[in-house]
Symmetry: C2
């Protein structure tokens, strides 16, 4: 590779790093998918080779997450933004129930804003007054008596706070945006009404959203919904209500195969993620306040490590010097500033180790 | 390439054939986009390299179609199906106007079904009684006096009928689904209220929909619309309301570059498409009725050539023997049967010539 083509360690919050073996396989077969006579980009979604890919994707995801028969897997488009609306359109609109929202960061707030357009809502907890730096305890949740569902965001990418388990919401169906930590650990799907994730952070490229929906919830939808926004259409047509994003599903399936065969499953992935995150949080904790972590230690994200330096000048210097060391995309979200290191499943430990060393050296040189 | 990796001529109706040079470029850069330090699949949609790609895509499309300043280009997800709803949600819902629909095939019917959910509609013409085998004359159109817009499908892929120009609808804003013939010829964008196309037939991979919208129409939308379904969000945020399908936009831009630089623009593309289609229609017309074209000659599609053989047995034999000659995916849509040869922009004339020869020989052997 020439200099222009040298790969760096990419700490982007999403779209984000993918496993090298996945990229290599996609590259190898890009002109011709073996046996298909054409590229995965060119074959019909109703062709035998693509239907096999879709079937494998569903089977592999079912295996990875141990998805029970009660739940259906569908592949959608429109990212989390469309899910923010589709969830209340399907599960709240027209009912006399109230949807509960647990707000732990920017994405949950956006989901809540869309839900308000569709029906009655209740904020079960709002971490905004504390700058979204921690998660609620179960006893802090104020749920409705007639809860349609309880919505939460398992990992808030901008603030870097993450649930390590499920909040206790009683009988209310739990609906979770897992976009930025999907498949980072095993998930007890049976405890959820619905889990969804846009792929581009932890599970694939931009342009596909996977949803796992408890089938009995589908009965709530009205026939007056816009066709694409009606989950039943996607479930009943096996993700073929319209042409699915074929290449994105293909690539997501390669990620599923990588998790199953190369990583060895989600327990092992979880261990690796804890090990990686510890390297960076240790660097923060050892800095005597030079690096100020945003999240309360009990709520720290394994995916997005967020912190500040003493001033903006040092932050800019940190980002610039890191880039010279091939540690890229470390600037925090434009809405909050600071530093954010996104260390999703596919970020190799070598990259995190290098960043940890860089943080220690930068602290020593600039504290 | 081994036998398993041999490319065939792929007459799929979509996703469909892409230019070889586009696939090769995407393959070459799949591990590392020059200068980006990562794959196009991995870089942030807010990174400089991606913003350059998006800017180029808009500039190239503007150049190809001579898009005037009055119109905005946005890249969306959810395919035509979501546009079927978004169009009436944005431009009809809550008004006291009526949306006119010209029904020339299966896709227009589906669009109309979604519009009925959102407001008052009128069927301006319906070709269903004649089996959708021809297009209306202007004098046959029965438009509303208070028309919100007039919707039509420039090319119906299933039936193989195609408008070669625009219907005359007076002052009613013309809205067109050009999914299956986008960029097959120059288009007078100034005459349209909106033109849209999902990419996977004539302009790229599945997973991205491009829309070109006359800006003044955006004022019609209500703030109560689901965020993702509100065109203003996409226009005002420059297709960055949420993470766009980055790879699909990248690939679509490579197709735009191919059209500009390799083909030499849309006039030349149109000539090539007419030449290709003539080869197959000549084979039909020379067959003395062995091949029965579905479309009336005046309404024949340059993109999807649809015809029947005397019986199902011969049709199956045709498809099977064609496949042995590396002419793939010729079976008609499952809803109508018969044969369909999709010969989009990227289908090389060599493939069409081979199919034309095969048709002539098959007719001689089996008529």
């Amino acid at each position: 590779m020439s200099t222009a083509e040298k790969r760096v360690y990419n700490f982007s919050a999403g779209p984000a790093v993918l496993p090298m073996s996945v990229l290599q396989k996609a590259q190898e077969h890009l002109l011709c998918l073996p046996g298909a006579g054409a590229s995965i980009l060119e074959i019909s979604h109703r062709s035998k080779p693509f239907i096999e890919i879709l079937d494998h994707a569903i089977a592999n995801l079912t295996k990875l997450l141990n998805v029970p028969d009660t739940h259906k897997i569908v592949f959608l488009q429109g990212g989390s933004r469309l899910q923010f609306s589709m969830i209340p359109m399907n599960f709240l609109k027209g009912s006399n129930q109230t949807a509960d929202y647990i707000l732990t960061g920017a994405w949950g707030k956006k989901a809540y804003a869309e839900a308000k357009k569709e029906g009655e809502t209740n904020v079960a907890w709002n971490g905004g007054d504390e700058g979204f730096n921690r998660l609620p305890k179960d006893e802090e949740l104020q749920l409705s008596s007639n809860s349609a569902y309880t919505y939460f965001t398992s990992n808030e990418t901008i603030e870097g706070v993450q649930f390590s388990g499920e909040p206790n919401v009683g009988d209310s169906p739990l609906i979770c945006d897992t976009s930025s930590d999907f498949l980072h650990r095993p998930l007890p799907i049976a405890n959820y009404g619905m889990v969804y994730a846009c792929a581009q952070k932890n599970a694939g490229p931009a342009g596909v959203t996977v949803a796992i929906i408890r089938e009995d919830l589908l009965d709530r939808a009205s026939d007056t919904l816009p066709g694409y926004c009606d989950y039943r259409q996607h479930v009943n047509n096996g993700s073929m209500y319209n042409t699915p994003p074929t290449f994105s599903i293909y690539l997501m399936n390669l990620v599923f195969e990588w998790l199953l065969n190369d990583v060895g499953g989600l327990e092992k992935m979880h261990s690796a993620n804890k090990e990686k995150a510890a390297i960076l949080y240790n660097a923060i904790d050892a800095s005597h306040g030079f690096y100020a972590g945003h999240a309360h230690p009990s709520s720290r994200s394994l995916m997005n490590v967020t912190f500040r330096l003493p001033n903006d000048e040092l932050q800019d210097k940190f980002v610039a010097e890191a880039a010279k060391n091939d540690l890229s995309s470390l600037k925090g979200h434009r809405s909050v500033g600071g530093i954010r290191a996104s260390i999703y499943n596919a970020m190799p430990i070598e990259g995190v180790t290098l960043l940890g060393q860089f943080m220690t050296e930068f602290c020593q040189a600039n504290a």
